[in-house]
Symmetry: C2
Subunit: 176 residues, 2 copies
């Protein structure tokens, strides 16, 4: 943020960010990122899975860029979030193989731990979420397997605009 605080007597981070957004006084790098999101029809988050989530630097992007006023408001979230005309997709690489995650009690489609990102963050902002692209353990895969992962991803991207979003609600995730 640039400029004076909205309420210097009682600092409230959320309030200050919200006010700064409305006054267009957020830090310039955040405004730049918001412009990119605003112009996008589909936002692809490409990251290595760290602790079953995004790496801290990408969490910081979410914490700061997807702010109140820009991405959602008090009564405008989930299907009414401001980014509701956009698609989002998590494309992630893992350290472990699919078999390792399965042995650790994680279902193959990762829905359990993608919930905070796909539903709690992206859907909260209105995004329609496409199925995650998961490339397992490229680090220990063969060169041929790695090329296969990239080719599969490239193939999927050719028809990505025809895909239907996942339903992205708690029952979908937890089979209720």
């Amino acid at each position: 943020m640039a400029g004076a605080l909205s309420n210097p007597e009682l600092f409230n981070y959320g309030v200050e960010v919200y006010e700064a957004y409305k006054k267009r006084s957020l830090a310039s790098d955040i405004i730049e990122e918001q412009k990119k999101v605003q112009e996008a029809d589909l936002v692809i988050f490409q990251f290595p899975l760290y602790w079953f989530s995004v790496p801290a630097v990408l969490k910081g992007w979410m914490d700061r860029v997807l702010c109140q006023g820009f991405a959602f408001d008090i009564s405008e979230f989930y299907d009414s979030g401001f980014l509701k005309d956009k698609l989002a997709l998590l494309s992630l690489t893992t350290g472990g193989t699919a078999e390792m995650y399965s042995k650790a009690g994680v279902s193959g489609d990762f829905r359990y731990f993608l919930w905070p990102l796909q539903h709690g963050t992206l859907h909260f902002c209105g995004f329609k979420v496409l199925a995650a692209q998961i490339s397992f353990a490229p680090e220990i895969a063969s060169e041929e397997e790695r090329k296969g992962m990239v080719a599969a991803w490239a193939q999927r991207l050719k028809t990505i605009w025809k895909e239907e979003p996942i339903s992205c609600t708690p029952p979908w995730y937890f089979g209720q």
Copy 2:
């Protein structure tokens, strides 16, 4: 990390961190944090819930401090993780009230979205996890309600050593 890379031909972050840990050449701030964890019987993570998870700065702490060699190793994780003689507890404040989360389809005990932190991170490193302390919406609570939250937390801490850890496995979280 300080000093030369283990493999300058092919940079692999995970490998470099693991090697640096073994050679005691991690950055000094990380070593300091690891010492604190090593000396603790109970680690309390106090944070405001951002996007159904920890704020980026705390995610960065987890990403960097809980490294291979220190917190886990290739075949030593979950109940065999290196921090298995320690307790961990998430103490978090939320923006919304309990009722808001309930309306949004989130169960009252937050187990869905605490899974990546409690099971996927802390339990993975061996920690026995105590039930989360959740203080709902202190920002919009009355002064009296806020004092009540702090008093309840203080009361709980008096007998914290007698508490049993949660079972912290996927069936516990998802009622399988």
